[in-house]
Amino acid sequence: MEEVDVEPSTTVTHLGFEWGPGDLLVYETNYKLQGIRPRSASSPSVHVVRRDEDICSPILRKLFNESHLIFVGLQKIKEDVPSKNKKSQFVSISKNYRSVIRACMEELQQNAGKRSPDTHHVSILLAIELIWNLCEVLFIDAAPAGSLLLHLLDWVRLHKSDVDTRAREVLQSDSPAQHQSYWDVVISLVLQGRTDEARQVLSKQASLRAESSSVFKRMDVLLQNMPIFNPAGTQTLTEFDVKWRHWHEECDRCLQDNTFASNRHLETICKILVGDEDTLLEQRELLSTWYHFLVTRLLFTHPTIKPPDLHYYAQSSMNMFLGPRASPEPLDIILLSAFEFDLHQVIKDCSIALNNWWFVAHLTDLLDHCKLLQSHNLHFGSNLREFLVLEYASGLFTHHSLWQLAVDYFDHCPEFGRVYLELQIERVPLDTERKAIKVLRICEDRQMSEQVRSICKIMAKRALRNNRLGSALSWSIRAKDAAFATLISERFLQDYSNKGFFTDLDLLDNLGPAMLLSDRLTFLGKYREFHRLYGEKRFSEAARLLLSLMTAKIAPRSLWMTLLTDALPLLEQKEVIFSVDQTYELMSCLEELNLGTKDSNQTDQDEDIESTKTELLRLALARNLAMAIVKEGTIET
């Protein structure tokens, strides 16, 4: 757990806690600690302890976003590409990741000094990049003997950049040879195997002292002759080895002959070229890290090192450099595990040492794509890569904004990703409709119909509570939720019977095919259409519609009385609208209604009204029937 920024207030009660997805909720309970007199009332606040604070840093957010893009691109690499091409692709992806880390680090360094967490992040990012680079060299690029050392040299050079600045400083000064760091620069360049640059700096010295120029020339020749393996060349490893031994013997001979006895610096350089360990150890300050010592040692004693032999030298280098009393730091142990080609140990140690899963998740995913991890199943069913990616993505989901990135990570976890996503996506707080639409799109794209339904129901209920019936309806249409559509229609009908007119006509008039979602909704739409037809004085169509609503049993029984009452003005018209058959139907509907059980809670007054209505209807129906029979019986002449 990270240190808290703020002094925790002293409490006199026991603290209770509850685990959340990424946080810890801490609250004060009523149980008092023994032996302490309570001084003040306990505070009613609940504290949230967040385990991972990196996620809140604005600069690190860029890391998360950019690496997300790279991750998604990596997953898309096809399986059928031949492995040679794939290796170069993987190496370039690894370089992409590293450049993102570096960019982040540079930005943090620019902003550093204002806040202490930033400097902390800078050192962690440095370490991460170091480890990643080494893993790239050893595992992804998997260079064979010969090129392995060259790659390791590049690795060391990249992570020891102060040599360049010092060299520049020396070269740009008025008299480089008199500069106090002159020899340090030369030796550092030699230690890094940069013989050409070392020669360049040495030449500044040589021009000054004429009498010792022969010695400098000798050194110059030695440095120039140092063989460097060229992987693209035609020279085989054994040829290179022979050549190198030749050169090594030459250096040794120079040492034995005391050629450089006149100049102790040159003598030191010669001893370095020979690979004398004690001399190398003397340069501890210039080397500054044991892995630099390791690489330099290999450069001058064993340049054709094979990968499996690396770990002997690594262990011994570390012991020699650090000395008997110093204990290795976590970073050193991780690097050592990497040199020993123990991937799982590297991942394990990194997981423990680091605050959040970003590094291990992405690195393991990349290594898994390179088919370097043996897939042994963990106890809970998924393999190591999936476990780490799931943990990382779950951590992202707790963030109020980065949850959208996590969705893609879950997509690429074949075993448990979907389950995790289903559980997490429902818990995203939905403040605005736009956010709900985005969440819904995520669910719909993955056919998570349960979640779609539940989210739409939440939004629809909220809209209903705020009296936005149109919104509620559009949400139920999206979820194809017939039950909710029925509920909304009931609300509309209730409003109608309370107010006597329809609200939200723009919605009802334009329902379109959505009407068919639920029976009640269909009824509502058709009922509104009836009113519209009546308003437009298209009485016969209105009459037909009204009748069909009752006979096709679309209308709920409770509303039949209302519908029949609506039919009353049509029956009272001068011209006959309902035909004989239609009138018979209406009559049967009325009788059916009356046959139904009477509501026992009705007061006398209500019963009176009901019976009056029935009477009126019966009368009107009878009159209409009479007129209709007469009309239909009349022969037009």
Binding site: H68, H400, T432, E433, R468, G470, S471, I477
Partner: protein, 344 residues
């Protein structure tokens, strides 16, 4: 030329160019971006550095932050104005504040719409709202645009376009247009810069529709533009033969109508879309002699070409703005893309 990307550590909901004075033929340099879904959202102003380029015309400047300020809630829309004011609680439900979904301004008047179905008219220098159309819509209004000085057009989540005339006293729309068939929510609307009767809308299913508001109830053409919600559609303000759309599926398309181009150029550049339907009846009694190529009926003479503007699939592109030769867009991947040499 690929657009330059800049990650700004917040999901972007809206980006808008600061308007350039019309007389000077300058490229816009300053844009505003609003964030959403953060615990504290911000509106930030970015500058693109000076306009001088070296001989081969490479602009390599990344946007620099000029200033930013806090914003309560998600930034839903941005418009440039010369005064600043806050109208509190303009959009509300009975017991809570309702999100305001869009704002449009034609100085000095402002119109805002929200999830509570209200259309509200303000004047920039007055603290009181000028007019509220209550219950303008029973569903959420997603976008609004000015048609004429006193007329606005809104789109809502049941797929209707409504025209409102502020000169009328009544609170009902002057006209309602909608698609027959499925009522798909519409999310964005934009008017043709020169011809006020041509309007483009984009909806939840990614369909781009071109409407003629004078005529009937159906859109003139329906184009399957995107595979997910279309968030913004913009006509290019000075060259209206170009249209830009951005969508939840992470793509930003540049549409160009060409009249009378030959098949070979079309085949070379690729045919990225399907035109679903194209109404074949040209308008009768056309006043101006220039018939817009968006509405011309003969589909063999007029084609629509679409090109992807962003290099790779990103998370949803939430917003775009285009002015002169510059395009700016913001994504949910917390990146702002700026393209300074549009082929318009």
């Amino acid at each position: 030329m690929d657009p330059t990307a800049k990650y700004i550590s917040q999901k972007i909901s809206r980006t808008r160019w600061r308007p350039v004075p019309a007389g000077l033929l300058q490229q816009p340099e300053v844009f505003a971006a609003g964030s959403w879904d953060n615990e504290s959202n911000r509106v930030s102003i970015w500058s693109l550095g000076d306009n001088d380029s070296d001989t081969d015309g490479e602009f390599d400047e990344e946007p620099r932050l000029l200033c930013d300020s806090e914003h309560d809630g998600d930034v839903m829309d941005l418009q440039a104005l010369s005064l600043a004011h806050v109208w509190e609680r303009a959009h509300r439900y009975s017991c809570d504040n309702a999100p305001c979904t869009a704002v449009v301004c034609r100085s000095p008047e402002l119109v805002s719409v929200g999830e509570d179905g209200r259309v509200i008219l303000y004047k920039a220098d007055q603290t009181e709202v000028v007019r509220v159309i209550e219950n303008a819509d029973s569903s959420t209004i997603h976008a609004v645009t000015f048609l004429r000085t006193t007329e606005v057009l809104t789109v809502n989540s049941i797929g209707q376009l409504k025209m409102w005339d502020f000169r009328q006293q009544s609170d009902s729309p002057a006209q309602i247009l909608s698609l027959t068939g499925d009522r798909v929510p519409l999310h964005c609307v934009d008017k043709h810069p020169n011809q006020q009767h041509i309007v483009a809308t984009g909806g939840q299913d990614g369909m781009l529709c071109i409407w003629d508001v004078r005529q009937g109830n159906t859109p003139f053409s329906l184009i399957e533009a995107h595979s997910a919600e279309m968030w913004e559609v913009h006509f290019h303000p000075s060259n209206p033969n170009h249209l830009f759309t951005c969508s939840e599926d992470g793509s930003l398309l540049h549409w160009e109508t060409t009249s009378g181009s030959d098949m070979s150029t079309l085949l070379q550049r690729g045919w990225n879309s399907r035109v679903v339907s194209h109404s074949g009846v040209p308008l009768a009694g056309e006043d101006d002699s220039v018939v817009s190529s968006w509405l011309a009926g003969d589909s063999s003479k007029n084609r629509l070409e679409a090109t992807h503007m962003l290099p790779s699939q990103t998370l949803s592109v939430n917003s775009l703005d285009v002015l002169e030769q510059c395009l700016v867009c913001g994504t949910d991947g917390e990146a702002v893309y700026v393209h300074r040499q549009l082929p318009v």
